[in-house]
Amino acid sequence: MSAIVPRSDFSLLSANPALVYLDSAATAQKPRAVLDAMNDFYETDYANPHRGAYALSARATERYARAREAVARFFGVRDEACVIFTRGTTDSLNVVAAAWGRANIGAGDEVIVTGAEHHANFVPWQQIAIERGAIFTICPLTADGRADVEVLAALVSEKTKVIAFNHVSNVLGAINPVAEIAAIARSVGALSVCDGAQGAPHMAVSFDALDVDIYAASAHKMLGPMGTGVLIGRREILDAMPPYQTGGDMIAFVGDEQTTWNVLPHRLEAGTPNVAGAVGLAAACDYLTAIGMDAVAAHERALVKVAHERVSAIEGVRVHGPSAAERSGVLSFTVADIHPHDLATLLDERSICIRAGHHCAQPLMRRLGVTATARASFYVYNDENDVEQLVEALKSAKRLFAVA
């Protein structure tokens, strides 16, 4: 398998031909098209949108609206006012936990998350449950790391107000049955919140078809800029949700004693919006669409299949999570007695970038019975040679530690 995009699209990668970047689940490298789009906005149409009464500002406003359209299209959202630009997945999920949670979760209610959540989809729910006096329940996982929907279906009750779960686990690459979980949530009138940070970058997402109430993602993991993300929600939910932040652009009328709110998407976007970020994310969406999200998913599946086979063939290696056919391009593993941090440092010596640690998923680490794993993750610019180098480097690390 060669990469499905030219390495030369990515300045950093083409400037470092020997670099084996296997940490895209943490953050993805940027194609020139994304940086160009942002620069072009700053150099051609830059002004504060919404507020100015001159053509330059109208152009900036237009850019922002076009970006929202492109992002809505990418995420399969027909009602584009339901695409809210945020700072990232963490921001999106905190908005829902705080604004929706405070208004809808009461004492004795129940909030459910899975045991495989990233801290961003775990701690906000844990904390709002504590604040509201609600019960915080952690849904157990299947052996391969997905939410156990049978247990979940038995767990829920009329008291359940929220089920928060990942689309794809950032540690295991395990893909959750989103529609099934959403249906369970719906059956008891609970809000279904899908953390799409590892979903949107790697597979076609149609929000309208997934039937979840809330979907969140980060631009920087899908070839877009840092500091931008989306919160997508069904209109009834977002319309009824109290604003999370207040300030400019999101108000209708500010009285000395009371304030009324603007309509969606504005009422959930207080302050000067990050138009450049939205433009960058839209460019990333367009770039991915041009490749085709099915091609992206197939490429990653092919790479992770080879990696899974070759890495698990090394003696002493334990690969966590589902079989290669059922995972997105993420491979977490541990190698005998070698601590993942040492592994990462040894691989770094060979210009191979992997991540080591708890991956912001300490609850999952406890459930896997480890304190840390090593993780290699693949994206559009990776190829089979990257896998080859990973495997060689792991073998070499084993030799070094064994000799000692």
Partner: protein, 146 residues
């Protein structure tokens, strides 16, 4: 950057200086407030309905020349019109202001607003009174934002 001279024509400037139907209406049957939260324009539209027909229309509020002239002309033109006729006008005016429809059906006096289509940041000013009229005729929330 944009050619606005075509927009600020004598007729608009005149309606701005001496708006027609600019008064509260004691016997109004519908009162609808329209606001543009982004620029602070606001107006109150008063309608006296006689069955299906708009017997009288007036407005008050603060806004720019465009929204004022638009409200002034609109209240003059819809007087005596049926709901259906007013609906058609609303649709045509909106179409023109957003640069989408041909103008053939629209009363010539209203065509002075065609220039606003080139100024996206001012479209809402022109449309605000029409938006309030639409809201008033379809149940009316008492207050609408454009």
């Amino acid at each position: 950057m944009t050619d606005t001279s075509a927009l600020y024509q004598e007729v608009i400037l005149d309606h701005n200086r001496r708006p027609r139907n600019y008064c509260a209406m004691a016997d109004a049957t519908i009162e609808e407030r329209g606001v543009n939260p982004l620029c602070g324009d606001e107006l109150t539209l008063y309608l006296r309905m006689d069955g299906d027909r708009i017997a009288d229309a007036s407005f008050q509020g603060s806004g720019c020349a465009i929204s004022r002239a638009s409200a002034s002309m609109m209240t003059s033109i819809v007087k005596g019109k049926t709901r259906a006729e007013a609906d058609a006008l609303i649709e045509q005016f909106r179409g023109m202001a957003t640069g989408q429809t041909v103008l053939d059906d629209l009363p010539p006096t209203l065509r002075v607003f065609a220039g606003v289509a080139r100024l996206p940041q001012r479209v809402k000013c022109a449309v605000l009174p029409w938006h309030a009229l639409h809201s008033a005729l379809t149940g009316g929330t008492g207050s609408t934002a454009v």
